[in-house]
Symmetry: C2
Subunit: 394 residues, 2 copies
Amino acid sequence: FWWLKAMIVGVVQKIIKLGQQDPRRVFHSFKVAIALTLVSLTYYITPLYDRFESAGMWAVLTVVVVFEYTVGATLGKGLNRGIATLLAGALAVGAHHLASLCGEKGKPIILGLSTFLAAATSTFSRFFPRIKQRYDYGAMIFILTFSLVSVSGYREDKIIEIAYERLTTIITAGVACVILSIFIFPVWAGEDLHNMVAHNLEMIASFLEGFGGEYFRSPEEGDNQVISEGKKPFLKEYRSVLNSKATEQSLANFASWEPGHGCFKFRHPWKQYLQIGTLNRQCAYLVEALNCCINSEIQVPYEFREKIHQTCTNMSIESGNALKELALAIKEMRQPCLADPPVESAKAAASDLKTILETAIIANSDLLTIMPAATVASLLVEIVHCTEKIAESV
Amino acid sequence: FWWLKAMIVGVVQKIIKLGQQDPRRVFHSFKVAIALTLVSLTYYITPLYDRFESAGMWAVLTVVVVFEYTVGATLGKGLNRGIATLLAGALAVGAHHLASLCGEKGKPIILGLSTFLAAATSTFSRFFPRIKQRYDYGAMIFILTFSLVSVSGYREDKIIEIAYERLTTIITAGVACVILSIFIFPVWAGEDLHNMVAHNLEMIASFLEGFGGEYFRSPEEGDNQVISEGKKPFLKEYRSVLNSKATEQSLANFASWEPGHGCFKFRHPWKQYLQIGTLNRQCAYLVEALNCCINSEIQVPYEFREKIHQTCTNMSIESGNALKELALAIKEMRQPCLADPPVESAKAAASDLKTILETAIIANSDLLTIMPAATVASLLVEIVHCTEKIAESV
């Protein structure tokens, strides 16, 4: 059984690694387990809820479905669930009442028709982007509750009582989840978003800081050797920024459900983080193009490179500095006052470069590779400037 | 009530627009509604299932939760649900049996402990990227079923019978959903992925084809006027490619659940679409950098631009042609044999451009803007070549 042992050891190592990366995940798992065990045992031991046969089931279902990793997601799902259940329950009771008026024969027809209509409209409404973004789960629960109440209502006449007890169970379980997720090791989506945006800025910054040294290596250091990306993590790290849009958007969405916490007030301007994120991604696209130049096969003659070496490196380091300062400002939530000097000097370097290029005698050099670096750097300066404006409003 | 009327008209217009964009959405809504109504009414009218009080509820729940937009998603969720229910049910019955051996006092402790363990491990397992991608839903259902069976088992002794009837209900409802989604107006995730990848290639292609004309407009046509992007959709359309990664990945994930359909066999190489998509996104990043050049404030003197006009336009149009041909080849699922000539001529244009640049006397022109276009275009050629290789294996 040596292979079984090896497999188990491998899995355990993976688990430990995953736990170390973010210990909050372990806490989250325990939180869910505690909530579930508490709810189960409450309904299991106390004879308090004896008369509601299925109430325990609803509580368990709510806990499993509502308890999400971040506070915002839990709150959003809980609210969605509560409101949708209330609404659908009320409508279904109304439909039931209407159906009862139509006699024994008309009843199934009316009920079927109303289920059909409710299901079709709410399924279709889930295709609207705005509803999909925030109320997708609510729409699903709406259909569920509506058809459940319609179906169950036939056998039992005490439909309102059932609806009431289910609602209280669901709300109790939902509130328990929310309280647990807020007060015991909370994971705030807003905080995650905040850190993620700052971290993304930093990654771009560290690429820019390293870029000058990487691109303008002198031939003695081994000009044509393949750049070992493995040894220089900053050359690859920025890639995660390129595809960060979906994560940022869902975090901002969750964050908008959260109450005030820590240094964030309720109705913190989360959308500005998205704006900064978008600008930063634009920066990342340009960086990606820059990276292509590093790896490009066409190499520029050493003499010409030497001419623009200093200014280009300056530009890239200064924009990197500016971005780092911005990231720090975001982290500490203050005005990014120290970002202006690097931005200014990056701009100065850019105009220096322009004059160098204009006066240079470059008849016999291959221009194909050297220019994009300059252009992209100057574009970067523009973007840094733009980011700065937004960061000011934090 | 004129504002109410205006609002209703607005909503109706939106609905019609959404329906026209993709009529399959309307069909989907009706499919869900039909499935739900059928299931409700079956359990509602027939006395067949009279002895299972809550069986109807489980059927409704399964339909609402499992029925997704694409066939792949429905199948994936259905299988996840079925297998997770089976597994969790078996384990929970085992735990119950174990608990019964421990006497009346030990029973709640054992049950609580097992619930806690099961919930903690399966919640934690959802953080593994591979499980999250494919079995996230299954893990959730596992916790749900496990704790439900644990809770309910205390009151009723016929635990195995309950587990059995629930399982049959869920499987019946799940199979009904899968059949309905496969045989009535099916929406195949694989087909969507296929079309999306081809369409993305086309968007990049149409940008490239239009780029030459846009960038090298002669001064008479109004050189400095702001480019009206609204009138030229191809200048903006490609942006959706930049953030297409998440959609492509989820579609490929769903597609891997689907059986063979149409011209796609089972185990169609969906991952290759992802590779093509990644390369295409890389292309899009470069295009984004190109687009910055169009909108750049620094404008190149007319005389110099005129010199490289022809070759640059050629390069961009030819790479556009090559991409279009590749997109067509993907659509028709054949070898992209016609893509070679444009790639070759794009390469030829690139080397022409190189010689032009090397011999040009450009002492007094501002090089800052013209070069990136050339470089990026030559990079594009490289990428087109790369894409071609992959497209060959389709």
